[in-house]
């Protein structure tokens, strides 16, 4: 009978033990401990008591039956089914032989060899199953080890990943900061550029002021003179009309009337001229409207040529240069932002006058005998679907090294404080933004030609 109790102890022991990743919940463990204790108690009772005890037998089978029932009933013990399968034949044969012995002892004794053989095979079965199970358990344990190693590797990888993520986050933060700093720097540069452009504009306006004053003074003089002389003419007519009709010089009266009419239209003309100049000056100082409008390039070129000439003239009394215009009368109007384009022309003309003046001063300081006539010319032509504007001078010209740099911002050959170095670079940008092209031809010491082409 004790074999069954030993088996009970073994099953209870194994049920307490974890198998692979499976673990027995705590609440069951104490139960199994109690079962083991009960089995031990039954063994002790069996050893102590003599002869057959029915109660002991029923208790023994109830105890093991409970365990087997539990293993099949509760899913958490399904993993121990193998153990039960291994021991079940043994338990079964034991139970049957005990039962048989109890019911018919004589019959049992007769067949005892068969019972013992069955028990033996059941025992062999249990051993074989036990070995098999152990092997499986070992394999399972290996799997478990592998799983643990994998888990560890996974944790290391996760840790590395976390560290990397932290590093990436730090880098990202750094880069974002740098990006923001760069953006801020760019913003500063942009506003500085805007300021520089504005100050360049103001500088060129400053250069123009004297020219503008002269250019306004001239038409105003004519307005004053023509109105004054018209008054005198009216006086003459009055005098003539005060004479007796026969003595009146009708021819003179007609002539004077026609003169007065002419004068009035001249007053209007010069008034408008002054008006245009003031408007042009305001336009020049204003921020670009950005609106392209049909513009007469001949008119614009003439206006800025005069402004530049008189501006330089007013600033430097010794300055003088001849200027000429060779305009294509059939030049079509083109769509340009006139303030912007006016600045291009002003800049080119100013540079041309500067170049001829420099050459004049140089010849003078060299005591050169060369007879030099400073000369600036603007030519306009239509060329198929383009218009060409050429500004040429017979000034200093440029060596190749200078020519290559003239469109670079801040590049200037003028002494410090005299040029911003932005004129040509702005001109370049403006011409390009009009879909045009600007080219430079220059011969060192001989003169320069700037050619602008604009689409019509």
């Amino acid at each position: 009978m004790n074999e069954i109790n030993f088996i009970t102890i073994i099953i209870a022991f194994y049920l307490r033990k974890p198998l692979g990743l499976e673990k027995t919940p705590n609440r069951w463990r104490s139960l199994f401990t109690s079962i083991m204790a009960a089995a031990v108690a039954l063994i002790v009772i069996d050893v102590v008591s003599e002869g057959f005890n029915l109660l002991l037998m029923v208790s023994t089978f109830a105890l093991i039956g409970t365990l087997i029932f539990m293993v099949f009933k509760y899913s958490e013990f399904h993993f121990r089914k193998n153990l039960i399968f291994a021991l079940l034949p043994l338990i079964g044969t034991k139970a049957i032989s005990h039962l048989a012995e109890l019911i018919n002892h004589t019959w049992y004794i007769r067949w005892v060899t068969y019972f013992e053989t069955a028990e033996f095979f059941a025992f062999i079965w249990a051993i074989a199953m036990w070995i098999l199970n152990r092997r499986q358990a070992k394999a399972l344990e290996k799997e478990q080890q592998k799983a643990i190693i994998k888990e560890r590797e996974y944790q290391i990888a996760a840790k590395v990943k976390d560290e990397l993520e932290i590093q990436v986050a730090e880098r990202t933060k750094e880069i974002t900061k740098q990006k923001e700093e760069l953006e801020a720097a760019l913003e500063v540069l942009r506003s500085t550029q805007d300021q520089l452009i504005q100050s360049e504009k103001m500088a060129s306006l400053g250069e123009l002021t004297a020219g503008i004053a002269h250019e306004i003074q001239n038409p105003l003089n004519f307005v004053n003179n023509f109105s004054e002389v018209s008054n005198e003419l009216i006086q003459e007519i009055k005098e003539e009309l005060s004479k007796a009709p026969a003595e009146r010089d009708q021819e003179l009266i007609a002539e004077i009337f026609s003169d007065v009419a002419d004068n009035l239209s001249k007053i209007a003309y010069h008034g408008k001229r002054a008006d245009t100049i003031v408007k042009g000056m305001l336009q020049h100082s204003r921020t670009s409207s950005g609106v392209k409008e049909l513009t007469d390039i001949n008119e614009l070129a003439d206006e800025y040529l005069r402004l530049a000439y008189h501006g330089l003239r007013a600033k430097d009394k010794t300055f003088n240069a001849d200027f000429q215009t060779d305009f294509d009368d059939l030049l079509p109007k083109v769509e340009v932002i006139s303030q912007d384009f006016g600045r291009v022309l002003l800049n080119l003309v100013n540079n041309a006058f500067y170049a001829v003046n420099e050459k004049k001063l140089k010849l003078k300081s060299d005591n050169s005998a060369e007879e030099y006539k400073p000369f600036v010319k603007i030519t306009t032509r239509r060329n198929r679907n383009k218009i060409q504007i050429k500004v040429e001078d017979n000034g200093m010209g440029m060596p190749e090294s200078v020519k290559q740099k003239i469109f670079q911002p801040f590049f200037t050959t003028k002494p410090t404080g005299q040029g911003t170095g932005l004129g040509m670079s702005l001109s370049y940008d403006i011409v390009k933004s009009h879909g045009g092209d600007i080219q430079v031809q220059s011969e060192d010491g001989k003169g320069t030609q700037i050619l602008i082409e604009l689409p019509t």
């Binding site: 002269h214 003074q217 001239n218 105003l220 003089n221 004519f222 004053n224 003179n225 023509f226 004054e228 002389v229 005198e232 003419l233 003169d259 002419d262 004068n263 001249k266 010069h270 000439y309 008189h310 003239r313 007013a314 009394k317 003088n320 240069a321 001849d322 200027f323 006539k373």
Partner: protein, 127 residues
């Protein structure tokens, strides 16, 4: 008949002078000639030998040859011709340059025709 030459790059100056001196021209006391650049003025002066022009009034501020350069050339070639300057820039520098180069008078723009007329009438009567 007194012939004077007025040099100015502004063409409307001619109209102005012709109206201002209408009477003198009609009376045959005065003849007016006009040039619109220094070069043209020298050409006109060289047309007759000796030149009919006795007096040159010249603007200073002209493209190409300035009035001051013209003054020197006229004084060089024709020392007997009077030259007076008419300039919008009435500064001392221009004035002194003009005077030291032999200018007779220095008129500022806008032209004070009364003083100009006095000068010209004086010229006519002197003759």
């Amino acid at each position: 008949m007194t012939k004077i030459l007025i040099v100015d790059d502004e063409r409307d100056v001619e109209t102005l002078f012709r109206q201002k001196f209408r009477k003198e021209v009609r009376n045959g006391d005065l003849e007016l000639a006009f040039a619109f650049s220094g070069d043209e003025a020298l050409r006109i002066l060289s047309e007759d030998e000796p030149p009919e022009v006795v007096y040159v009034f010249s603007d200073i501020n002209m493209p190409g040859m300035t009035g001051l350069e013209l003054l020197k050339k006229v004084k060089d070639k024709f020392p007997n011709i009077n030259v007076s300057m008419i300039s919008a820039y009435g500064d001392t520098e221009n004035y002194q340059k003009a005077m030291s180069s032999g200018a007779k008078e220095f008129f500022t723009k806008p032209i004070d025709f009364d003083s100009l007329k006095r000068e010209i009438v004086g010229l006519i009567t002197k003759k």
